[in-house]
């Protein structure tokens, strides 16, 4: 039959070890659930997931050491990059998978969602997000995007007994599948115009050749941009995110928000900065518009939200605008500031949704802002922590939130994008208002004083799991806010080794 010999790729398994640990651990969990006669509690699975995340973190740090000592390299037929950029995302995703189960363990148990399914899906999504950062080939980017997205659709619908959960899952799936289709078409057109799906080859081709009829290439780049903008929920491709965040099970929204943003931005930054820098005069104005719209719409629409999950969803859209500023600056400094912002955002959003989960549970599932009224008296420590995370999102000093905003804005100013810097600062001022409103509601007395004595006002008891998660996120937010040098150096190294 086929007489041709196939050239087999030499696969450097250490280069993709963190991903393999995630997927291997997922298979072990899957087999475990099947073999044991009675399910363990969700806490056991959460613990196992944290162990897998830690193993993956260790192997990511080993890879980081390799890259720092011997420089960046490519593996698996040039499809996987092992450079500072990919290692940054390996470390970040591993860290997210260590922290996220802490917020989910008790919630899933209380909601009656037993079993390891959430943790299995989270590990698959984590492997996808890692590959998004490492992919050096558009086909691998697409595969990673699907590995990341499909588990998230299922996670959104995990609470089968609530109709809102199914609705969130359905909306997320339909819009996500739609955007994936657009993204694949973008890959096809880009391949048609440049003759390669390898990001480095695309960049080399574009720098060597001038394309006489660039319509196909522009269309391809535009469709790629739309695909990514859907995933990171940039305005006007953000419609799904408030509905999905509101409807999804409380305890897992933080993970969904963090991992989707991290994975989406990882590939977004790499594809546009490393493969299409020669087209920057074309896509930069478009990204500018997306960024400005996200900054403004995210902040303004969040003002009118009564549900805190929706408010956080719109504030995430606002954050997406800030992270996009690093791309507009189109400098190593800009990308480094985006990476710093992603790191800060991930832990703040994990903890914010984690606290919303426990407060909503104590208020019979209501995540309205009124559920937080008087929280300062009811559970002062919890209220203080929530205030820290909200103020960090608003950009208060001594938190990573402030430095993250500072770095992206200064990168934009350094690139002479003054207009977007002004828009960003104005939107941050608007955003301060709705974050502070929640803080005020928490610490002001209840409007109806007689409500204090009602039995609902007993303090909220948190389990050790949730405390450990909150503490880890608070440490990441405050320590790197006061002493940011290690993280900044990590983010800078990520872009220095970024070819």
């Amino acid at each position: 039959m086929l007489a041709t010999t196939i050239i087999l790729p030499t696969i450097n398994y250490t280069a993709i070890l963190p991903e393999l640990i995630m997927l291997g651990g997922m298979l072990v969990l899957l087999g475990l659930v099947a073999v044991i006669p009675r399910d363990f509690s969700t806490k056991t699975y959460a613990g196992l997931t944290q162990v897998i995340g830690t193993a993956s973190l260790v192997s990511s740090l080993v890879l980081w050491h390799d890259v720092a000592a011997h420089g960046a390299f490519q593996a698996v037929a040039q499809a996987v990059d092992v450079d500072g950029f990919s290692v940054f995302f390996l470390v970040l995703v591993s860290a997210i998978l260590i922290v996220a189960p802490a917020f989910a363990a008790d919630y899933l148990h209380d909601e009656g969602i037993e079993g390891a399914e959430y943790f299995i899906l989270a590990l698959i999504a984590g492997a996808g997000a890692m590959l998004m950062g490492a992919a050096n080939d558009l086909i691998l980017v697409f595969l990673a995007l699907e590995i990341l997205s499909i588990p998230l659709y299922v996670i959104a619908g995990l609470n089968a007994r609530r109709a809102t959960s199914g609705e969130a899952s359905m909306k997320y799936f339909l819009l996500g599948a739609f955007s994936s289709a657009i993204f694949v078409y973008g890959i096809a057109l880009t391949y048609g115009a440049t003759g390669s799906t390898n990001l480095a080859d695309i960049a080399a081709f574009l720098s060597r050749n001038v394309i006489a009829t660039p319509g196909t290439l522009y269309a391809g780049a535009a469709l790629l941009l739309v695909g990514f903008a859907f995933k990171i929920a940039a305005v006007p491709f953000h419609m799904w995110s408030p509905d999905v965040y509101e409807g999804s099970p409380d305890g897992v929204v933080g993970f969904m928000a963090a991992i989707a943003k991290v994975g989406g931005f990882a590939a977004f930054l790499r594809v546009f900065v490393s493969a299409l820098p020669t087209l920057s005069s074309i896509w930069e104005p478009v990204v500018w518009v997306l960024c400005a719209l996200s900054l403004i719409a995210g902040a303004v629409i969040a003002l009118s939200q009564r549900n805190i999950k929706r408010m956080l969803a719109y504030s995430s859209i606002n954050h997406a605008g800030f992270i996009l500023m690093g791309l507009i600056a189109l400098s190593s400094r800009g990308v480094a500031s985006s990476l710093y912002y992603l790191f800060a955002y991930s832990f703040i959003v994990l903890a914010s949704f984690g606290i919303v989960t426990v407060v909503a549970k104590a208020n019979s599932g209501s995540a309205e802002i009124d559920a937080f009224r008087g929280l300062g008296r009811r559970s002062p420590v919890l209220a203080v922590f929530f205030a820290i995370f909200l103020l960090a999102q608003a950009g208060a000093p001594f938190t990573t939130g402030f430095l993250a905003k500072f770095y992206v804005v200064s990168a934009a100013v350094a690139a002479h994008s003054y207009a977007i810097a002004v828009i960003a600062m104005l939107s941050a001022a608007v955003a301060v208002f709705f974050y502070l409103r929640v803080v005020l509601v928490m610490f002001s007395g209840s409007e109806t004083e007689d409500a204090v004595g009602t039995p609902e006002q007993h303090p909220i008891v948190l389990s050790r799991w949730v405390w450990s998660g909150i503490m880890a996120c608070a440490a990441a937010t405050v320590i790197f806010g006061i002493y940011p040098l290690p993280l900044i150096n990590f983010a800078r190294a990520a872009t220095l080794l970024f070819r």
Partner: protein, 150 residues
């Protein structure tokens, strides 16, 4: 535009397919004798004559069987091309396909363990108090017995 000529056979095939379908319909309209009987007009020409409306809802287990089918379908789709070029892929291909098969096998085990193939009476895994109270007009389980009376 020269590159588009290579798509000409596909276009011709598309036209031919369309013509074949159109001609078949027209020819059967013109040529076939029309002698309708009640049996011929029934939705299904053979089998038991339906006496009542079938229930619209059916067990979710059918979907699980479909999932098992998809799993093996996908596995076979990957195994076929691998088997064809087995000799040129050598040990590398064998190892890769074993890893792939293991991943598929684990998901199959998971499905079996979750009762995808248990067709016996429904096991009550949670206290029934959380389900909606039964009334005379609406519960899922009474659907079939209700219809027998109708």
């Amino acid at each position: 535009m020269g590159s588009l000529t290579s798509y000409l056979p596909i276009f011709v095939l598309f036209i031919l397919g369309f013509l074949f379908a159109a001609l078949s319909i027209v020819a059967s309209k013109l040529l076939a004798p029309k002698r309708p009987t009640t049996a011929k007009e029934a939705p299904y020409e053979c089998g038991i004559v339906p006496t009542y409306e079938l229930p619209q809802r059916f067990p979710v287990r059918f979907y699980l069987v479909a999932m098992i089918f998809v799993i093996f379908d996908i596995e076979v789709i990957f195994l076929f091309p691998w088997a064809v070029v087995y000799n040129s892929l050598g040990t590398f291909g064998l190892v890769e396909i074993i890893v792939f098969s293991l991943a598929v096998f684990f998901s199959f085990i998971y499905l079996i363990a979750n009762g995808a193939l248990d067709w016996g009476p429904i096991k009550v895994q949670r206290p029934a108090s959380e389900s909606a109270p039964r009334t005379t007009s609406s519960t899922v389980r009474r659907v079939s017995s209700n219809n027998e009376a109708a």
